[in-house]
Symmetry: C2
């Protein structure tokens, strides 16, 4: 109890954490939200930061701004490292925090599936720092490639851009890189753009698995029209920073590998005293309580939680709608517990409502699952949905404005390199 | 000669370098512009990046975009380290570049006047990286100060923000920090904002020395109304990262010192085989040629050059209009040389036309030297002048849009911390 009120602690300021924070903010409780960042990241648009369409401040929104009018909400900027269920505390790098009820909404990180070499040399696509890093690197490679002392092999290697992973992030990233290169083309007068090659690698036989097959095929066609080589049924086994090695033995010389091939729960989930699935997600009950929670006061939602009931073959996917829908049920159930409910059967059971999927493939092109759409209309739908979900009126206005200008002028303001290495031969 | 045409090499993509590049782009010459960044930085608005009003991409414009339609211009991204006038080459960290005519427009860097401790611990305000660093740090200090384990002294030290230097940059930075803090106030529910203190320190008896005295006094009044302590006639002698020591013995505990107290030419100017002034600027003749240039083909303009004739008491100030006006004359004189002029007396002499100075002190407040203005009208004039000078239509639109939204809603999107240190006790 804090100030005589139940203390709700939320770990993570992603879609799930912010949503449940907003729900609890209206209750007579005290809330502490722990995040290692001071901002909520709108991950679906991160690829636009990595390709110089949007700026960092347009996809990251200060967590405190959500709770400006809620004196009962405190942000505790720290890295959560685990929990001690016996003592009801979250352990962070800035000390311990006691909770009455805990919601784990800690999210996911990149899954390199144990390939250390890939983890070391490829770019992840989960954090704002990674997105800026990709932007700096990709743009810098053009500057490096144009230097007169390059060998043709070196130049070609630097002009080969590989994206691994055929989900929405991989598809969107590959499409956006292709468009970025069209703009670069106009400004590098001495570079031979025949050297440019963009490859999208996917281990399974299909892109965008959550969409109907005809949309998958349409996506491949659009990507290929943009000059992207789509390599399905292709597995990566090694990457040393210079050469990407495939399972079939093929070697691709490249200095840029962007890894969007999978996620796993963040490391702290291992230290929550509960059983986790193979991808690190903690198993949760149908009422969203962590399986085997010692004091029946720990819940988990979103990407860090594995939810599966009766007839499901695999846990729910790691997407925003799962997190926000779970936030509502977890809030309701914790309020029941606060009000004295002791029978776990009386808690609400979570049922996922699948809203369908969508992905944009570039300017004026997207695929939407339901209702089935492609082309310009789908692209408009994609924009509207993302603008609605983006946090904050001011952000909405700015992003809408930038998209409009980008659409009309193809301008990408952000093509600047902000981390310069002075290493002479790099 | 490159492709049978004279090779013009420009060092630096600031105001002077871009301007002269644009003038030469229309001539029958080959141009190489050397810069360690791939962007032109609009320095007058850098303080808005450091205080989360604008994003990096809105004050930094890709150099290549200026020359999109000029096939005779190449950007060579490298750090120029010096020149060898005997061999007509610029030495860079990416090899040597031969020139027929050279324009040094390499700019200035922060002058710490030999105070190593200050250089190590204070923030400079000259690069985009420094501006982002200041933004991250200032916003992070609020997060750190709110942590419950802080002592009152520690908290106060973190809530003390010192800006050194009473020129436009210092005045604008102090004003913008005061406004940033007003926004933070609304979102840190548990922090006592009586602990906040902003100090503007200036060694001489006046702020904004280039403006009339009544405007200087007005500026002090406006700053004080914003809660900023203006300390004139005050000199800094030491700063260890925790305590700022003044010449009068006073010690100010603070974790934030922003140094806008002076500039000097960049280090490469020492290696140009020519005589430099005390602040590192190379002396130039009235025709803008570097004094004693061996082959009469090296010119210098802008912040890296010291220009003084007959009746002047000190060299021209390091401001953008000097650089752009000099660009025009240097271009003209080099074209004369290319066309065969051999008599140096036939070259044009540079005469500076002072367009007056201006500075903004915050939302709705600015001072303009000629015609003399203060308040809202001056602020509008300041915005118009800066928008006109900003590079690129798209940038203009975006910045105008952001300013309008900021004016209407006080929103500052960029209040995010992008470089997180996980050091537990920091």
């Amino acid at each position: 109890m804090v100030n005589g009120k139940p203390h709700i602690v939320i770990v993570g300021g992603g879609f799930g954490g912010i949503k449940i924070g907003q729900l609890f903010a209206k209750e007579n409780v005290e809330i502490t939200l722990i995040d290692r960042h001071n901002f909520h990241l709108f991950q679906p648009l991160l690829y636009q930061v990595s390709t110089a369409v949007l700026e960092t401040g347009e996809v990251a929104y200060p967590i405190r701004s959500f709770f400006r009018n809620n004196n009962n909400v405190t942000l505790y900027m720290a890295k959560a490292q685990g929990i001690d269920q016996e003592r009801d505390v979250v352990i962070t790098n800035h000390g311990e925090i006691h909770y009455d009820y805990l919601i784990l909404a800690a999210g996911a990180t990149t899954n390199f599936f144990g390939m250390k070499s890939v983890e070391e040399h490829a770019f992840g696509m989960k954090t704002i720092q990674e997105a800026v890093h990709i932007r700096n690197h990709v743009i810098h490679e053009f500057e490096r490639a144009e230097k007169p002392y390059r060998t043709p092999e070196d130049r070609k290697k630097r002009m080969t851009f590989v994206v691994v992973g055929g989900g929405p992030t991989g598809v969107e990233e590959a499409g956006a890189i292709a468009e970025l290169i069209e703009i670069q083309k106009k400004e590098f007068h001495k570079l031979d753009f025949n050297d440019v090659s963009i490859k999208l690698i996917e281990a399974t036989p299909r892109l965008l698995p959550m969409l109907p097959e005809e949309l998958q095929k349409h996506t491949v066609k659009v990507l290929e029209k943009k000059g992207i080589e789509v390599m399905l049924n292709t597995q990566v086994v090694d990457y040393d920073g210079d050469v990407l090695t495939l399972k079939n033995g093929v070697k691709i010389p490249t200095t840029t590998v962007i890894w969007a091939a999978g996620v796993r729960a963040v490391d702290m989930m291992k230290n929550c005293g509960a059983e986790c699935a193979r991808d690190g997600r903690v198993w949760i009950e149908e009422n969203l309580m962590v399986r085997g929670a010692v004091h029946k006061n720990v819940f988990a939602i979103g990407d860090c939680a594995a939810f599966m009931h009766g007839d499901m073959k695999r846990p729910l996917p790691t997407v925003a709608p799962v997190a926000t829908q779970q936030a509502k049920v977890a809030h309701k159930n914790i309020m029941k517990l606060i009000k004295g409910e002791t029978n776990p059967d009386k808690l609400d059971k979570f049922v996922y409502k699948d809203l369908g999927a969508m992905a944009t493939i570039g300017k004026g092109e997207a695929v939407v699952g339901s209702p089935k759409m492609t082309g310009f209309m789908a692209w408009c739908a994609w924009m509207v949905v993302h603008l609605i979900r983006l946090a904050g009126f001011y952000t909405n206005m700015t992003v809408a404005f930038k998209w409009a200008l980008n659409f009309l002028t193809s301008a990408r303001l952000g093509r600047i390199i902000t981390n310069i290495s002075l290493d002479p031969m790099k």
